[in-house]
Every structure is written in structure tokens, then in C-alpha cells.
């Protein structure tokens, strides 16, 4: 209950935030990314953090939502986007059920490997089919819902916030329910769980479906927000890894870990992308702008955010495997 109260308070604060910062598309854009990554990572966390089933292919569910929505809206421009979101959930659920039915009978390394294989099959299929726009991707010219100004970023800020709150709410509820206990039991020891009456594949599939459905909603929202998608934006393995990394850094299997991770990683990536970090180093006088290092930083740091992700992943696994929140968790 304490957690539900905390979610409500923070959600109220986040709700009021756009009023405080006013009309600033750049900042709002970053905030949308933070909310989206926090929600993606929280949705992944239900499966990966609580049930202990590390999916390395969550991009498939994100892409399923984004592609279903944009393909439908290109063919039927007057369709209510919410129907597209619902159909996206169905598409993602089908992929999830196929993955689950193949691999949840197996243990160990297999789920991780198979989740990548499924995601790659989805990615390559989308790339090779014509109706998906292939390598060109899909561009959506116009979209409308309830007369909202969808050219402004605010509706998407609130949309992402809503999904995040719902995801956190589901997670908080799960933690105190039979399903949540069962998922954690599966994570800790599958034989013990099974011997205590837990139907392993039912509960794994259940958590995968919840996780995939939420991820697909976020994909749909992202598609409506950006209105241009291609496989490298919504179906890439890199996205799957970013989702996991966000959870790891914040703290896997904790309610707030993914949010903390997103608050740290998304702005960091943005700073690298916009070369804020390189500029700061130069401005602070630490590196001369004309020196070889200065030029190198200026030219390359913008492309280096994946490299930085790699370094953070390695450091995090070696020194902080329980994430930032793991540091504060009381030792029983």
C-alpha cells in the first residue's frame, strides 16, 4: 500500500511537471524518452526481474505494437488509434505465446537465446516483407484522436506517463499477490516451485503475456509519437539490451529500479548524442578544442553512446550486479 501511495504522489508530480516547465519541446522530448524507457524496463522487469526469465528480445513486442499501429493507420487512416493499440497487443501476445510455448519447457540458457532468435525472425521478416515498408520503414502523415493536438508532445507525455503508472501499479499489485509470489519462487528455484504446486509454464507465460502486452502498448504510442518507424528504430537487438540495462542499473526485481535506471541512462545518452559532454569538457578547459583529443571527442562522442552503454554494462555486472537500489535494500 505504501508503494501505491508513492506511485500516486510521484505520478501527480509528473502530471504537473509540463505546467512547470512550460512549452519546451526539447525538454518534453527527453522526458517522454525517460518515461518510455522507465515503462519499457518496468514491463520487462515483470518477466525478467520477478519471474527471473531474462528476455533478450523485447524489441519484438515493442515493434509488434509500433508496426501494427502504423500499418493499420496507413491503410485505414480514419481508424481510431486505440483500436490499433489493442490489435498491437494481440500481435505481441501471439509472438509471446509462440516464444513461450517453445522455450518455457526448457531451463537455463535457452529462454534467453530463443527470445533473441524470435526477435530476429520478426525483425528480418519485417525487413523482407513489402507490406511492412521493408528497409524504408513506414511514414505516417497524419493521425487524430478525440481532437487532441497530436503534433504537440504533451499528449504523448501523458500517454507514456499513464502506461508507466499502470505498469508500476500492476507490478506493485503483483508483489503482494499469489502470482507475484509464484513468479519469485520460479526465479529462485524452479524445482522447489514446481514441488510446491506451481505450474511453471502457466505462470511464466502469464508474466510474459503481461510484459509483452505492456511493451506493445508503448511501441504503439512511440509509433504514433514519432510517426516514422523502421526496423533499426523499433526492432533492433540494441533496444532489447537497452531495456535490460536500464533495469540492471536501477535494480532488477525491484519496483523502482527501472525508473531509477531510466532517469540516469536516458539523459546520459542524450548528453552523449547532443555532444553536451564533449562541449562541457572543452568549455571547462579540460580538453583543448583544437587538440587531437578535442577534435576526436567532438566528432565521435555523439556516436559513442552505445560504447558507453557497453562499458556501463560491464562495470555494473562486475561491481553493482544488484543495481543502485540494491545498495540501499536492507539486508535481512
Amino acid at each position: 500500500m505504501k508503494q501505491i501511495a508513492l506511485i500516486t504522489i510521484l505520478a501527480a508530480a509528473a502530471f504537473a511537471l509540463p505546467l512547470v516547465i512550460g512549452e519546451n519541446p526539447y525538454i518534453t522530448g527527453i522526458l517522454i524518452s525517460v518515461l518510455m524507457m522507465a515503462a519499457l524496463s518496468s514491463a520487462w522487469n515483470i518477466l525478467g526481474g520477478y519471474a527471473g526469465q531474462y528476455s533478450f528480445g523485447h524489441a519484438a513486442y515493442f515493434g509488434a505494437g509500433a508496426y501494427t499501429t502504423l500499418i493499420l493507420l496507413t491503410i485505414y487512416p480514419t481508424l481510431n488509434p486505440l483500436i490499433c493499440v489493442a490489435l498491437g497487443i494481440i500481435a505481441a501476445s501471439i509472438i509471446a505465446l509462440i516464444t513461450g510455448s517453445i522455450v518455457f519447457r526448457l531451463r537455463g540458457h535457452y529462454f534467453g537465446l530463443a527470445s533473441i532468435a524470435v526477435a530476429e525472425i520478426v525483425r528480418l521478416s519485417v525487413l523482407n516483407f513489402d507490406f511492412t515498408g521493408g528497409a524504408q520503414g513506414i511514414l505516417l502523415s497524419d493521425v487524430s484522436l478525440w481532437g487532441l493536438d497530436l503534433n504537440s508532445k504533451n499528449p504523448f507525455y501523458y500517454g507514456m506517463l499513464l502506461v508507466l503508472v499502470v505498469t508500476l501499479g500492476i507490478t506493485a499489485y503483483l508483489r503482494t499477490s499469489k502470482t507475484g509470489y509464484y513468479l519469485q519462487a520460479i526465479r529462485e528455484d524452479q524445482d522447489a516451485a514446481s514441488s510446491l504446486g506451481i505450474n511453471l509454464s502457466y505462470y511464466k507465460n502469464k508474466s510474459l503475456l503481461i510484459s509483452a502486452a505492456l511493451t506493445s502498448v508503448l511501441g504503439s504510442l512511440y509509433g504514433l509519437y514519432i510517426r516514422f518507424i523502421d526496423t533499426s528504430a523499433v526492432l533492433d537487438l540494441r533496444l532489447s539490451i537497452e531495456i535490460i540495462l536500464t533495469a540492471i542499473i536501477g535494480g532488477v526485481g525491484t519496483l523502482w529500479g527501472p525508473v531509477v535506471g531510466a532517469l540516469l541512462l536516458v539523459p546520459l545518452a542524450e548528453m552523449l548524442r547532443s555532444n553536451l559532454l564533449g562541449d562541457t569538457l572543452v568549455k571547462a578547459g579540460l580538453v583543448s578544442e583544437t587538440s587531437a583529443l578535442g577534435i576526436f571527442l567532438k566528432e565521435n562522442l555523439a556516436h559513442a553512446h552505445v560504447l558507453v552503454y557497453g562499458i556501463i554494462t560491464v562495470l555494473c555486472i562486475l561491481y553493482l550486479p544488484k543495481g543502485i537500489l540494491g545498495l540501499f535494500r536492507r539486508t535481512k
Partner: protein
């Protein structure tokens, strides 16, 4: 086109895949780690061959004499410094660590060598033997296949005859028992990772003359190597060898009779089919539901 042509090129390419698959399987067997940096290690091998050729003017196949020890050392040190620290961690941490290392390798390569693909052109790159029946065999493919056979033979003899080789196999069979028998399993892990790296880099160097060399080239090979390992049974070296050839042939057949766009999809479908119907692999007895 004759059925034999894709079969033959499939077998030749598959040999090189087998090399990559064996490297991964050995690491899996001895260390029980899924190495997600394997593809990127292959990519490093490709660049090593490329720079040996362009800077030092060494033939890519001859450069193996330099690449193999370099890669072994690199893998050995990598294991000692980083990988062994997660050897008793949950699988997902091992996977994430190797993913992180892979990202560091590929993105460092991206910064250092840019994303422009490089092409390694030797005097015999596009030459081929023409056999009866209109079948032709590409010279670089044939050479790399022959070298693969030599390396696999040496590896086989090493694993079955030498003391270290036997210790490696014992560790792979049962890590705890091997330790009780007085085998230094920590050292075996480092050696296995060194050999795995050397095999990945060799596979990379061998395909360098026939592929585009670029920093993200490792990704598609990573999943291929996993498919090969699962097909052969995770941890089984012989299985990975056969698995490699099967995947090479499947790929070549699907390019010929389906479309080269879909060949990777076919490979991953096989991967899932193996998990569904024969999770212990065609030859393996480790892993699966136990």
C-alpha cells in the same frame, strides 16, 4: 542450376561456421557460459586479417600464424581479467557481461575504423576451379575450408591426446569432479576461452576475403554460432562441427531455392525447431531439461 553447386558451397562455408561454433561450444562446455561476444571476436579476426594484409602485406591465410596466438592471448587475458569473475554468477549476468564486452568491441571498432565496410581483395579472391557439370569452386572458400579441416584435426588431436586437452574435456564433463581430481579448473577456463577466441578470430580471418568487413559484422554470426551449438548439443565439440556444416548447407540451399533475404530466418527457425523437438541437440546430452 545444379543441386550440387549450392550443396558444395554450403559445405565449404559451413566448415568455417563449424570453426566458430566449435569455439563457442568449447567455452560453453568448459565454463558453462554463453559467450555473446563471440561474434564480435570474429569481427576482430576479420579486421586483424584485413590490417595484416593492407599494412603488413601478409596473405590473409598466412596471417593466421599471427592471428591465432594473438587472439588466444587476448581471450586468455580477457577471461583472467573479467569473465572468471562471473563464472559462479547467474547465467543472465554472464550473458550481460559478454554482451557488454561485445558492445565495447564493436563500438570501439566503429570509432576506430568507421562504419564503412572494408573489402579484402587478394589476387585469387574471385578465382574459381571449374569442375565437370558446370560446378565451380571458389578458391578462397576452398582454401579456408582446407585450413579449417587442418585446424579442427589439430584441435581434435589436442583434445583427445594431450594432458591439457584431456583436462579440458574432464572439466567440460563435470567441473566439480574435475576440481576434486586436482585439475586446475580456473586455468582450464582461461585456456578454453583463449581457444574459443582464437577459433572465432580464425573463422573471422578465413571469411574476411569473401565478406564485407565492418564493425557490426559479428552480430549475424553470433546467432549462427548459437544455432550451430544448439543443433550439435550445447557443449559438444563434435556436434558443433557437424552443426556448422549443416547450417552452411541450409543457408546456401535457402539462398538458392528461396531467397538470400530469408536465409537467416530459415536458420533461426531451425534453431527454434531444435529447441522444440530435440533440445539436447542432435548429438548432445548436456543441458536440456535436466
Amino acid at each position: 542450376m545444379s543441386f550440387l553447386q549450392p550443396l558444395l558451397s554450403g559445405i565449404l562455408t559451413g566448415g568455417v561456421y563449424a570453426l566458430a561454433g566449435i569455439g563457442m561450444s568449447l567455452v560453453f562446455g568448459v565454463m558453462n557460459i554463453s559467450n555473446f561476444a563471440h561474434g564480435d571476436l570474429m569481427m576482430l579476426g576479420m579486421y586483424l586479417a584485413y590490417f595484416a594484409f593492407t599494412l603488413l602485406h601478409i596473405d590473409p591465410y598466412l596471417s593466421l600464424v599471427l592471428i591465432i596466438p594473438t587472439a588466444f592471448l587476448f581471450g586468455y587475458v580477457l577471461e583472467k581479467l573479467l569473465i572468471n569473475r562471473v563464472i559462479n554468477h547467474p547465467h543472465q549476468n554472464q550473458i550481460l557481461l559478454t554482451i557488454g564486452l561485445g558492445l565495447i568491441m564493436s563500438n570501439t571498432a566503429l570509432l576506430a575504423f568507421t562504419s564503412d565496410p572494408k573489402i579484402l581483395t587478394t589476387s585469387y579472391s574471385s578465382s574459381a576451379f571449374n569442375l565437370a557439370g558446370g560446378i565451380s569452386i571458389s578458391v578462397p572458400l576452398l582454401l579456408s575450408f582446407l585450413i579449417t579441416c587442418v585446424i579442427i584435426t589439430i584441435l581434435y588431436v589436442f583434445l583427445s591426446k594431450s594432458t591439457t586437452g584431456m583436462a579440458l574435456r574432464a572439466t567440460s564433463q563435470n567441473r566439480e569432479a574435475a576440481q576434486l581430481m586436482g585439475i586446475n579448473v580456473a586455468k582450464m577456463s582461461a585456456i578454453a576461452f583463449g581457444i574459443g577466441t582464437a577459433l572465432a578470430a580464425t573463422a573471422g580471418a578465413l571469411i574476411a576475403p569473401t565478406y564485407y568487413i565492418h564493425p557490426l559484422a559479428g552480430h549475424s554470426f553470433l546467432l549462427k554460432a548459437f544455432t550451430i551449438c544448439v543443433l550439435g548439443g550445447l557443449g559438444s565439440v563434435v556436434g558443433a562441427g557437424v552443426g556448422g556444416v549443416i547450417i552452411g548447407v541450409v543457408e546456401s540451399m535457402s539462398s538458392t531455392y528461396l531467397s538470400s533475404d530469408w536465409k537467416d530466418v530459415v536458420v533461426f527457425m531451425i534453431f527454434l525447431a531444435v529447441l522444440l523437438f530435440r533440445p539436447q541437440g542432435l548429438f548432445g546430452n548436456k543441458g536440456g531439461q535436466s
